[in-house]
Amino acid sequence: MTGIMDDFMTYQQELVNGLGVSISLALLTFALGLPGGLLLAVASFNRAKAVRILAVVFVEVGRGTPALVMLQLVYYGLPVTLTAFLSAAIALSLTTAAYTSEIIRGGLRGVPAGEIEAADALGLRAFHTMRDVVVPQGLRIALPPLLGFCIIMFQATTLAFTIAVPELMAQAKSIASSNFHYFNLFLIAGLLYALITIPASIFTDRVADKLARHT
């Protein structure tokens, strides 16, 4: 036990920096991926069949491709040179967009048909009905599962260590391979991830409760 504490104190700087990189990567992933998911969800309701098909193909390919494969594909496969961090953010955003579009789609579908009919009768254009009536309510419905998915994606940022992004997992591994305290360091990494995910889960449950009470 003291060994674990010692390792943590010794490598505190690297580990905390690693956690910082993990969090930044996750935030950038959400900033790019969630609007992407919304866009795909809205596109799947478009009147033009071509747009709908395009959205469905994107989503199915995105969901069908493992995040790790997506990561390697963007980093090694794209003909442009991007930093490892940016590649990871793009790859994880694509996965996030594909998965969250399905979650958001479900939320948008949950908006009562009568309200959409009322919007039609008032003469609102499809775009305004979507923006002013369907999306605000649909996102509210989708919020708890979206937060849940964000927690999963935060954990998926560990995959970025495979392309040498200096996030928490990569830091732990690199320290461990020099002092061979694999158990200690991965345990510490796990605890640090839990430090974020457990409060985030509690927060998600609270939000879900609150929304359930007010509808």
């Binding site: 309200e115 039609d120 009768a121 003469g123």
Partner: protein
Amino acid sequence: MGHGISEAIVDPIQRPDSPAIRLHNVDKRFGEHTVLDQVSLSVDPGQVLALIGPSGAGKSTLLRCINLLERPTGGTITVDGVTIEAGHTVSANELAKLRSRVGMVFQSFNLFPHMTALKNIALPQQRVLGRSKKEAEDRAHALLKRVGLADKAQQYPTRCSGGQQQRIAIARALALDPKVMLFDEPTSALDPEVGLEVLRVMRELADEGMTMAVVTHEMQFARNVSDHLVVMSQGRILEEGDPRQIFANPQQQRTREFLRAVLERE
């Protein structure tokens, strides 16, 4: 006003002889099933039409054909000079033109629950007529006052009673200056007592000369407020004419049965 689709709303010349609503041979079929069978009727400007009849008669479907929430499979629909022929694809422009003339009130109110009463009434004006926020909100306040809900402007719909919600919904429709108002069983989801406050607003509207088409089970309203009564059954018009006359002396056996059934209940 003055840009976008609001230009289409500028009053066409009101010929005294042209009806506000005219349906000609309107058909609605789902495969083998016929919901509306060659229905024709017309409503003059300022007239109140009441549609009654047993459930499943096609009253609501007919009403919903007037603003094309339901697409008829045959016939023509004319509202305030805008004619739509069934069977060809309706352009977005035609649809906007038609709907700008028609307000609708639903049985289940269908207010937007994430907006205050004020915003429910103001937002459509901004989006559809291009009014400024200030202009739209002023109008919304005036209409809320008119339906007796001046103090509910900042309230969300779920915090309002059913009767209040329905009156907000009426204000929302009126805010767009429709030429014609459609009411689809506006009091059916309400307690009888609460329904009265909605009927009072509708009656005032009728007195002010609004052209209205009302699907209703409120026989008192049909008898006392409407100018023209249409009795429907099985997708057809059974009989139509002066409400008092039909109530006093129905010509059709089916009408007699229906009126006996509903009036004996009251």
